[in-house]
Amino acid sequence: MLTQPDLERAFRDHILGADLPASLLDALTHGPVVPAAEVLAIHRNTFALGLAEALGALFPAVRAVVGEDCFAGLATAHARAHPPRTPVLSAHGDTFADFLAAHPAVAGLPYLADLARLDRAWTEAQHAADAPPLTTDDLCWALSAGPVPVLRPHPALRALRLDHGVRDLWHRARRPDDDADVPAVAPGPQYVLVVRPHLAVTVHAADAGIHALLNALAAGRALEPVLHDARAADPAFTPEDTLGRLVALGAFDCIPQP
């Protein structure tokens, strides 16, 4: 007789796509109303359809671009290859963009993985920790109060470098009822900021300089050398304008008051 761990493994393997093992059938009673193989298909379906629906809610732009049926096929293949590691389904799909990038069925849509990266960043921002964003007043106060402060990115900030310019297409794909024309994919790379200073997630254009600056601050570097590097990389860089715009977007965490 199968032990409980063996039973669970056999069940799991069948749900993830393996043929029905005789040992699992032997572990079941004969005589229930419906044949066991038919019933095991329900559990298989619950896994595949449930996760396709969950993934569709997490990647609406990808789903809108490839269509419901194609998405369901991709999502099921992804769920079987990369089953969720946690019951918190909002965490499911952290491997979906890379999965799409490598999947032959969508090789003709090379920008699809970037749409998935943007969908994913939106979800991460949506569920990130809350924090009051740094305001212009906070920054002025901090700059006047003493040594140049350490600026930390807001917990919800995601700074992306995409291979393809999908930001407009992504916006359009997240609004299925919009009857505006579908925008073209622009040449890449494209830099994008995803922010949620309060309750609403928004997505904005960025550039290579902002991307480098935010990554350096996220790595814990002090503001002064980061601004120095930014000026060296781009003589036209104006710290006041760039920091002013990022502060206005809610890209920074508040500075702890002494």
Binding site: Q4, R12, D26, L28, V34, T86, P87, L199
Partner: protein
Amino acid sequence: MTLPPNPAAFANSPVPARAGIGLKFPHVEAILAAPRRVAWVEVHAENAMADGGPTLDALDRVRRRLPLSVHGVGLSLGGSAPLDRDHLARLARVVRRFNPALVSEHLAWCGSGGAYLNDLLPVRYDRRALDTVIGHVHQVQETLGRTILLENPSLYLAFAGTDFAEPAFLNEITARTGCGLLLDVNNVVVSAGNLGFDPVSYLNALDLAPVGEIHLAGHHKRRVGDALLRIDDHGSPVAPETWGLFARALARTGPVPTLIEWDTDVPDLSVLLAQAAKADRLLEAYAHVDAA
């Protein structure tokens, strides 16, 4: 029974012995616009497992107005593997933040080898599984510092080599852990249909004193050859036979907090409230019954 005149006044208090509804996020603003229509709500614990953001904000706002129950679907209490400590810690965090009146989980397993299978899978009711589940329930109750309710599953298949029928298995767990029972009446109807047992005999064999909550939901019926398969999809109104079994349970328990669950093809809030009103009429009809 005198119904509470204003559920809002009962926020942060125990869930009343009335019919509540499963909280769906698209309904939140409609609920908050007129919270007196809703006696209490239940939320899936996993949907509240975020670091921050609008989901937790919505739940905070609902929590200030209505009694809340937190219902976990992912702890795998019936699995042979040790409990996922990270997941248990997340549940503890949700319970700390929202201080719900009730916390419940399932008699089921839902993962193996680190893979979460997005389902509530059946436990073989033998002595070893009994000890495992009891150990897991103790661990959860110690971590949360409170008792939980354990829900009977909906089943599609049965195992050979069991030592207990499900009611006896549940009776052992409630007696030895002090946990309560979340009696899902729809699950009894679904399992009874699929496995060919009598739902009334099942209820008669079950110790109902620990029942702290009842679930009601609809299920889908599908013909497979000559047989009727009942699929627990929570996507339709409560079935007549489920209402009948609910009344039988109430005749023994008296009024118990009762939840209308609707998780697929979620309709307008008014449909859920109409189902809750129907359940409330039965709860009032059995108001004279003292708890079993």
